[in-house]
């Protein structure tokens, strides 16, 4: 039991860090540019597939370097040549555009790499157990993922706290309407922030691809989860996004590893009891309920604390 | 007599910044009251506090003797207060006709009705026609509001504000950005439309202020420093000091 708890906690935190790599870019772009990028998870997927392709040709380490840069550049181009013009048509048009983009990315990935999962593996040099807990070997690739995520997190923190652009980002998080008054260079800052946000998502894709499945449907369900994270964390709050990412990462991981159901707790449903639907609820395992938990959490937060856990603005 | 608007010891801060400090204001029924003051004095914030757009940090706002601070704007509007905006704030994709009709609907008791046709609402349509004639936009009724020239959008803004028949009308810089001739027309319009109602107005144009107002309050750095008739304000030494270097008072 203790073994399960420790392993699940490790995996949960790791998953949470990956989620934060994506959610941080999404929430910063949303606060600064006012654009909710529906295609954000699509770029994560592109990162994974580019990572797969590049590591097939040149090896994993090149993929780790190149894929986020290429995808980030694509993202910057999307901001510069499409989103900026659509901005004039309003938020609905922007959101629809990124929605269409997400759809197109998925189609393109399906055409190029097919619908089945691709065989994306981490570098052979990391293919050994790092340490063992009780009887479980913890793979060193996961330790490496930890290191990358934490390094990015620290780098992000330093950039935001110390650099000029970081100050602009900070200001825009708390006072989104202020960004418009920042002067003539603001266009470049927007493109940069958008590109870096996309690049971070792609990086998450490159490192997550080998352990999660790299498949053309990996984006569709993820974007809803990211929306949950930024709403639950509180719009415009990076700290909130961080906590919500970890929370959801942990909840999901723990729930998936639990087999308990009402039936296992109270014994099988008596044959006299009403069967329709009750039977479903009685026998469903916590693992099966796992996909629901984040959305239930979303609704709970919206009812009890509409500004999110760490938000200052009401959602 | 119960005043139309009474502001009692209202404070408003954003974070650590105090925008409004111990604001007290009493506006009698039927009075035309102008609020003036240098830029950044908190005039728009005062309006936002009275109309329910913002809630005060402390203190009370009373409308016709009832506390309304803390209520949402639509509740305050239903109790008889209507406001305009400094930046034109119309229903941009709807026609002029529908803009005014929407402003009349609640006051005509239609609420959220989904079982009646708008075209059969004689009362609403007649009131709308009257308002459109009042603001000289009857000929422009089928134009999309967002495509109107600026001065006409300002007129529509005032039309929407008065359409519901509220007793208390508050106008936030209604003549901002207008030419001299347009300003004069707008002033005549405001005078006519707010007869027998209470009017509160924020204005930079001193011609408009002294031409319209029965009483004037001067707001400087979030505090009322003087309140009185136009003549009293003109001669008040504190006002002169606050406006020192500005030709406004001489005008």
């Amino acid at each position: 039991m203790l073994e399960l708890v420790i392993i699940s906690a490790l995996n949960g935190v790791l998953y949470g860090l990956l989620l934060f790599l994506m959610a941080s870019g999404l929430t910063v772009v949303f606060s600064m540019l006012g654009v909710l990028n529906f295609a954000h998870a699509g770029f994560y997927m592109l990162g994974a597939f580019f990572g797969f392709q590049i590591s097939k040709w040149f090896g994993f380490w090149w993929a780790l370097l190149l894929a986020p840069i290429i995808v980030g550049l694509i993202g910057a181009a999307v901001e510069r040549f499409a989103l900026r013009d659509i901005h004039r048509s309003g938020h609905v048009a922007e959101l629809l555009f990124t929605f269409g983009l997400a759809y197109v990315i998925e189609e393109v990935v399906q055409i190029v790499w097919g619908k089945d999962p691709v065989d994306y593996r981490g570098p052979p040099s990391l293919d050994f157990p790092a340490f063992s807990i009780f009887s479980t070997n913890y793979p060193s690739y996961k330790v490496f993922m930890f290191a990358i995520s934490v390094a990015i997190f620290v780098a992000l923190l330093i950039v935001i706290k110390r650099s000029r652009i970081g100050l602009v980002v900070q200001a825009s998080l708390t006072h989104p309407q202020m960004v418009a008054h920042l002067g003539h260079n603001v266009g470049l800052v927007f493109t940069l922030v958008f590109g870096v946000g996309i690049g971070l998502a792609a990086l998450a894709g490159v490192i997550a691809g080998p352990i999660l499945q790299t498949q053309s449907n990996m984006a569709a369900s993820l974007i809803a989860l990211l929306f949950v994270i930024i709403v639950v964390g509180g719009l415009g709050s990076l700290a909130g996004a961080f906590v919500a990412s970890l929370l959801i990462g942990l909840i999901q991981t723990f729930a998936v590893s639990l087999d308990g159901s009402l039936a296992s707790l109270f014994g099988p449903l008596s044959p006299d009891a009403p069967q329709f639907l009750i039977r479903n609820i009685w026998t469903v395992t916590i693992a099966q309920v796992a996909p629901i938990i984040p959305y239930a959490l979303l609704i709970l937060v919206l009812i009890l604390r509409p500004m999110g856990l760490f938000g200052t603005r009401e959602t | 007599m119960i005043p139309a608007i009474e502001v009692r010891a209202v404070n408003k801060s954003f974070g650590n910044v105090e925008i409004i400090r111990n604001l007290n204001l009493r506006i009698e029924k039927g009075e035309r009251h102008a609020v003036i003051g240098p830029n950044g004095a908190g005039k728009s914030t005062t309006f936002n506090l009275i109309s329910g757009y913002l809630a005060p940090t402390s203190g009370d706002v009373l409308l016709n003797g009832q506390v309304v601070s803390g209520l949402p704007p639509f509740e305050i509007n239903r109790r008889g207060l209507s406001r305009s905006f400094q930046l034109t704030n119309v229903f941009a994709r709807m026609t002029v006709w529908d803009n005014v009709r929407c402003a009349v609907l609640w006051a005509s008791g239609q609420r959220y009705a989904f079982w009646k046709s708008m075209d059969d609402l004689q009362d609403v349509n007649e009131r709308t026609i009257r308002i459109l004639e009042d603001i000289h936009l009857a000929a422009r009724r089928d134009v999309i509001a967002g495509l109107l020239p600026y001065a006409e959008q300002r007129a529509l803004e005032i039309g929407i504000t008065v359409a519901g028949g509220s007793d208390v009308i508050i106008l936030d810089e209604p003549t901002a950005g207008m030419s001299r001739a347009e300003t004069d027309r707008a002033m005549a319009l405001i005078k006519r439309l707010t007869e027998e109602r209470t009017l509160v107005i924020v204005e930079h144009d001193m011609n408009v202020v002294f031409g319209l107002a029965d009483r004037i309050s001067v707001l400087v750095y979030g505090e009322i420093i003087a309140s009185g008739t136009p003549a009293e304000i003109r001669n008040d030494p504190r006002v002169k000091e606050a406006y020192l270097g500005q030709e406004a008072v001489d005008a």
């Binding site: 909710l36 189609e107 709403v231 | 639509f74 239903r78 994709r93 046709s117």
Partner: protein, 433 residues
Amino acid sequence: MTELVSSAPMSRAVPGARLRFYAAWGMVAVLLAAFPSIFTSASSLTTFSLVGTAIIFALSYNILLGQTGLLSFGHAVYYGIGAFFAVHTMNLIPQYGLPVPLPLVPLIGGVAGLLLAILTGWISTRRAGTVFSMISLGVAELAVALALILTDFFGGEDGISTNRTKLPAWFGWHFGPQVQVYYLVAFWVFVSALAMYALTRTPLGKICNAVRDNPERVQFVGYDPHIVRYLAFCFAGLFAGIAGALAAISFESANFTDLGWVKSGAVIFSTYIGGTSIFAGPIVGAIFFVYLSLSLSDYTSVWQLYFGLLFILVVRYAPGGIGGTLLMHRMPFRVGGLGRILRTYAIAAVPTLMLVGGFVLAVETIVHHTVNANEDPRIKAFGVSFDASSPMTWIVAGLLMLIGYFVGRLTWRGVTRAWDDARTIASERGIPS
């Protein structure tokens, strides 16, 4: 803004306007009634059932998107719940010998959609804009996940099936023949479309438009935008439920994918491409979408990609959709500049088609190499045969795109100039654009 294309706004009690209103809807009724005599084949009647369902669904979606300015990513939830309630009702009626005929079943679906919307709407509509969109997606994910757990009701991956002919007959009709189903669908399309059109002309309908344009100002004319959005949301749920029930009647089954994101995406695409700013826009969009999804798949294996790209182009270059773009030409028509604009279109069309042709050629070639790499390289797309392995194909595609792009840029400038001139004339004569 929301009038039917053919009928002018009845803002005054003009008898002519009222007459036009009845004439337009009377014509729709006659057309619907005459359709089976013109298109007699069962397959075209089946296609109509698809189209009719899609029309109601798209119109219901436009109550949110076009009328109230709410972009929902989960509208299919209400469609799907309507479908499932309809299927269960159709199974229960013969089982308990209830005297309910099939034509009333869509009402059950509608009520189911409405009740669910009443339940989920209050929280979702507290805020408009992006937050609403995010929550709608969350609710949709929740619904799909729940549907896969509650297998007694949703039938798991297989769904639930039914038999519409087992219900009590309706004046001798058992709804076995396709033409009887057609009339059932046509009736509900007519009634729902008319009801939704009428809704746009009511106080609530107008205030929905006002909330879409300026929720802040609405508060200062006495309305609570939250309640307005909530009511619009409930109506959208009601009609989506009717659409779902009609689909369930046509297919005699319901599946969890009816609630899912593909269905929600389809209604966003069709509504937006049709045009959200006029009432008939979603109707055009629904017909267009169903037609394309049925026919494009015969021409190319990657039609979804083209459809997605088309959607992006519409958002980028024609935000009014088909309906709005057509309507935009009223202004040049009035000032007499339409002929010139159409001529510039004709000129611009040539390089634009070259660009599109080159692009399609390139895409189809890539598709051949990635998807069907082991098959015969002489492939056919959109009726044109070419050899995907020949370098000529790449050269042709490249040239078409290059020439198309650069010549196209020049010719589209002509289009812009023609429009600018028309606008200048219009503003001089005081004609609103």
